[in-house]
Amino acid sequence: MIEIKNVSKWYGTFRVLDDCSMAIAKGEVVVICGPSGSGKSTLIKCVNGLEPFTKGEITVDGISVGARSTNLPKLRSRIGMVFQNFELFPHMTAADNIVLAQQKVLGRGAEEARAKAQELLARMGLSEQAAKFPAQLSGGQQQRVAIARALAMDPIAMLFDEPTSALDPEMITEVLDVMVKLAEEGMTMAVVTHEMGFARRVAHRVVFMDQGAIVEDATKADFFGKPRSERAQLFLSKILTH
């Protein structure tokens, strides 16, 4: 479904991504972790073309992200993305946030889009919050609205860029629960996160990055069990002590 082949990216002379290759099959859940500044967010943003890359190729469902001929908006509309800071549009209600792209990108009618928004909000346990504005919602609620907003486009895959990093501890669970459910329903997911509990529960594979390079790409069992790269060990020992 998603193939990343030998992708490199430089900011001037600074190499942010160093020859990264990985693939995500349909229905697969891949967790990407690593120390901050290791390039994980950049890599995931390359997948839907929010970040350009200097070398290599990324294809999503057979379509090349970097090719000039690619209709990027159309491709992006098929890949859902959830951000660290939610990025709900502050001047729109929760429901309107979910309706916007359905109408403007997919061309759905107002009624259909609204019904879809209600259905998704209900799934997120947020039916009551439909008419509220982002600033009136808690962080956890905002992030669930953001997930609903992405799902409204009926995406073929979902990208999560540190979806729980900006949340208070008690709100992390409500967001992770939604993501676990999504994973169990068979959604193709790439998740940048430090939530190793989540990785243990639903990830098929764990990718570990450091200094722009993919250091380890292992099945969940291997990553948490068998010996692995020194850097990944060090990283795990640091984040798992707490």
């Binding site: 992006r76 993305m81 549009f89 001047h91 916007l100 403007k104 600033a135």
Partner: protein, 240 residues
Amino acid sequence: MGVYNWNWSILFKEPYLGWIISGFGNTILIALLAWAIAFPLGSVIGILRTVENRVLRLAATTYVEIFRNIPLLVQMFLWYFVVPELLPADWGRWVKRDLPYPQFITVVLCLGLYTAARVAEQVRSGIEAIPRGQRNAGLAMGLTPTQVYRHVLIPVAYRTIIPPLTSDFLGVFKNSSLALTIGVLELTAQSRQIEEYTFAAFEAFAVATVLYCLVTGLVIAIMRVVETRTRIVGAITVGG
């Protein structure tokens, strides 16, 4: 120093009352027409200053730097005395001979183009104040860059910049007084004329002051309502 002879009644006598009314009318008309140029033009230029395309951005930046760095009064003289000479001969002749209300049109154009540069800066700062993530979120769901501006960036930016835009809107009323330098009889010019005819300087300029304050007060009140009506629910507000 002698005793000043107050004579407020002079203001209600003809021709002085008529002068005040026509001067006030001209001031309002100049300001509104200049704003009608400044707001849309400034919006476009401000938006262009934030787009990816380098050529468009450079063009917009050049405009802003030219129009906000030359004193308004100098711009007024340039438009009125210099530009007609620089035009192709036929056009120059037309401007000098056949253009109706040449001073008035010059003032409106000059003030509009100058204020557009200021509006552009407000719009640019309003857009740039929006975190990058908002743009990314819009793009990620498949909106085109134009749609991101239309539905996300612009609605938020304009709400943010209502207070500074109000200042610029007030600016066109106050700056319209410079029109007197090229002979447009707006409110300030008429007050001066009344002063010259009657020596009632205090009365003449008092009425001008009060009228300017009335208009600006009205503008501020209207903009407050606009600001309250469009306020983003739950957004942090100062003063309120």
